[in-house]
Structure formats: structure tokens, C-alpha cells
Assembly symmetry: C2
Amino acid sequence: MVKTLIFGHKSPDTDTITAALAASYLKNKLGQDTQAVRLGEVNKETEYALDYFNVEKPELIEHVPAEIENVILVDHNEFQQSVDNIKEVKIVEVIDHHRIANFETKEPLYFRVEPVGCTATILKKMYEENNIEITKNIAGLLVSAIISDSLLLKSPTCTQEDVDAAHELAEIAGVNLDEYGLAMLQAGADLSDKSINDLITMDAKEFEMNGSKVEIAQVNAVDTSKVIDLQSELEQEINATIADKKLDLFLFVVTDILNNDSEVIALGQAKDNVEKAFNVKLENNRALLKGVVSRKKQIVTNLTDTFM
Amino acid sequence: MVKTLIFGHKSPDTDTITAALAASYLKNKLGQDTQAVRLGEVNKETEYALDYFNVEKPELIEHVPAEIENVILVDHNEFQQSVDNIKEVKIVEVIDHHRIANFETKEPLYFRVEPVGCTATILKKMYEENNIEITKNIAGLLVSAIISDSLLLKSPTCTQEDVDAAHELAEIAGVNLDEYGLAMLQAGADLSDKSINDLITMDAKEFEMNGSKVEIAQVNAVDTSKVIDLQSELEQEINATIADKKLDLFLFVVTDILNNDSEVIALGQAKDNVEKAFNVKLENNRALLKGVVSRKKQIVTNLTDTFM
């Protein structure tokens, strides 16, 4: 058994999976004894990237085994998004690009958060700072993460650092950024074999907003109407989740990856907050959020304000 | 008015004051518009360092003025140790070496915490990473901070990185590390003009431990018995503080800078936790903690465990 496990958040996306893999490769090159693991199923977009660059997906864990000494968190820091027994393990490092909340340790640790669009952009710098060569495969994983988190550099979360990193990494990986990127996003937006439950859980994150519990699930789609057609079944499942987790709000976000808008379904006793946050009127629990693609920068920040 | 204020914790110590000054100098060299400020009186040790290297102390603020856009926190991250209106300001960066707790932002930021003995050690790296020259005065401030936080490299919080940084910085500052360090510590341990209230507030920090409120005040002394002789007056003032702030525990720590032990006075309904944490028996509310000098590494961590 290795000494240190490295993992991203639950409902893993491409940044979370590739960051764990790339961080583990880096740490091991630096003489540490680490292994990347994951907290949930790999989605189709991530699978496309892993297959393309011929990298095995990390092992699935349900909880951190007792014999593991340390963990490193990538791409998240909020405990409710992490492994269930997070409070019982020793966190020695965090590498992330999200807001900081619901995180607490007893002892000092390495904690590196930067306001960039993607954990991969920070990891690229860490490779460079430590003079560790970014191989073709690692570059492929990292550029896939940037494409995923930035919707091919179009999200408002995307910084100049992310853009520069993506171009450099695409070059090392030997891919055409736009062609590879669109193919990868489309692979992820293929929802044909998804169950209703898959749709609302495959990229869901829970947030605490001033005492209220809010879950935000997001799916990317090429044709959003195909998802919205399932509204009544989706609502049934979402309402069950709200009751089960005692949520104040569940926001289901269907993002159009070609036009960069999102259609949302809002349920729960705090659903009016969505109207306030985005200055829209919910009709039949639904609204179109023009130009909104980023959960982190456009949805969480605006919604948090309405709970203050 | 500048755009960004930089400050350390309340009851400022040498690391907090010098980190604010050194961080502001660095940021301004990099083209930002920042100013170092402080949240309380400068202690004698810090005054000695500032005088020695001919640097003005930062301006005192009570709260962040409304016209300030951003703040950068150094040497702390827990909100209860920060400026009173911390929740109303935009924190764009944190540079620290403490545990992370009671910190939350709405948006991503730069957050750099490393488990080293002193913020100055991280700042030294940041100067180097950004190719900004460490001047004689800045080196003097930074080495003073390391001496202070590590009790001249003797505290268990002191890492090899701190030791190496201290030697390099002393060289740039043109001082003999041991001679300058002892003189500076002795200047700080001169308690002759301190009131009872000064003693319990000059380096006091409040912690939340699993719902309990704990305040830990620390003074350095060459002759600890001179402080302990004041026990009855100290207890009167400490009990008033406990009532006023609704504390569960107040721990007053008198650290012997020559022998590296601490004598403590514990008051409050949770004072038994001190006995559990250090495996000692309080007699007349007092105990000697052999080899304990570090609030962060030896006191907070052991005490936190007893509140779990």
C-alpha cells in the first residue's frame, strides 16, 4: 500500500481525474510514494481523454483505508465534496482553483490555490518549478482538463494563464487544440445512454451557502432540448434527492457547449433565489441563463449573494 | 488611498509586522499598489528589529476603510484573528504558515500556506521566484521574523527551510545570527513596563476548537518567576476576559526563552482540557510544560485533540 493517496472531488470531472494522475506522477518523480485514486465513475469526456492518451483511469475508492498515512486533495477543498471520511485523515497538501470554504485542519499543510480556470494550469507550473519534464501523455491529460473546465477557452473562468498553458500543452501533446477539444467535449456531451439519475448526479456538487444546502448539477449538451424534454422525470428524481439530503435548493444546469448558454431547472424551497441571482423569472421551474456556462464563477458566486 | 492593504493578525508579533512590510515591498516592486498596515501595537521585540534596520512601523488601522478594494492577509487566515470587518472585504491573497480554519471566500483567490516555521521563509521564496532582490533591510526584517517565531531556531516548528533561510538572510542583513537574535529576543522579553492587561493581550490569539472558544496568550521572559509572581492580578484580569468574551478556556503561557520551557496559568470551565492535553496536573491553576515553546505546534494541536 502506498503512503499517500491523491484524489479530486466526488462526481469526478476531467480536471479532477487528470489532476490526481498528473500530481501523483509529479510527486513520485520527486521521490514520494503516492497513488492517484477517484471517488466516482469516470465520465465519457474523461474516458475519451484517457483513451486518447492511453492512460489507465485511477482506482476507485469509497473511503480512505486506515493504513494510508496522508492524502493530497486536488481540484477541491470543501469537505462535503470530498471523501466521506475526510475528517479522519491527514491532509498534507491541497492544490486547487476554487473558493475556499468548509476546510479545516489541525496542523499547517501545503495549500496552494490560485484563481485560474483549471487545476491543470497550476500543475503545469509545479512541473516547471520542480524541473520535471511534462511528457506527451501528461501534457495530453493537462490540456484535456483545461479544455473541459474552460469549454474550449470560452468560459469566463478562463484566464490568460490557462490560454497560454493550453496552447503550450497541446503542442507537447501533439494535438490540434480546437479539433481535439471539440471532439472531447462532444464525447462528453453524448447523453444518449444516461439514466435520469445519471444526469442529475454525474457532475453534481453540494455547497453550503450561509447555512443553506444547495446542490448544483451540470451537464453539457450539444442539443439541450433533448435533456429538457425529460423535465418531469428529472423533477421527480430531483425532488427525491432534495428530500433525502434535506436540500434547500437543487439547481440542474444544462449547458449548451456550442452556444455557451445554460438552461436550468430549479427546485426546492429556496428556488426563488435563482430568480434573484440571475434576474430571471422561472417558468415551469425553468429559465434560460444567457451566456452562463461556469458553475464556479457565474452560478455559485451569484447564488451565494442571495443567501447572505 | 492605495488599492490593496496588507496586514497580519491582531496582537501583532514580529512575523506579522515584518511579513506585511516585506509582502508590500514585493508586490509594489511587481507593479501593484499596496500598503502594509497593522491591527495593534508593535511589541518591543518588533520595535527593536524595526529600529535596528531603520524601517518605519506600518500604520495602525481599526477596520478596513470602505474605499479599499482588496486586502492581502499574511501570517494568519482565521477570521477571528483578523480585522473586525474581514467578512465585508475582498481577500485576494493569503500568505501564511498556520493551520487553516474559519476561512471562507465567495471567489477563488491566491492562497499559499506552507508548513514552515515562519511566514518570512515563504516570502523569501516569493522574492526569489519573482526575481526581486532582497535588500539589506528586507533581509533584516525577514531574519528577525524567523528568529522570533523559532526562538532562535529552537522551536519544534522550525524546519530546515527556516534554518537555511535564516542563515542566508542574516548574511544579506549583515548581522551575526546568534548575537543579533539573542539581543532581539531579550528586548522582547523585557516585561518591566507591562501592565497586567498588557501581559494577557500583547500576544493573544483566539481559537475555535470544535465549538469551544479558547484564547491563548503567550509572553516570552528571561525570568518567568517575575511574571508568575503576579498570578492573582493576572487571574482577576483573565477571569474578566473570560466573562466578557464568553471563553471556555484562557491559557496564559509564559515561555522561558533561555531554557525553552513554559509555565502556564489555565482558567475557564474547560481548564481540565489542559491537564489532558499535556498530561500534567494543574496546581493552583498552574503547570510547567517541559520543552513546550510553540503555541502552534505544541499547544494548539494538543488542546484541539481534547475538544474532539
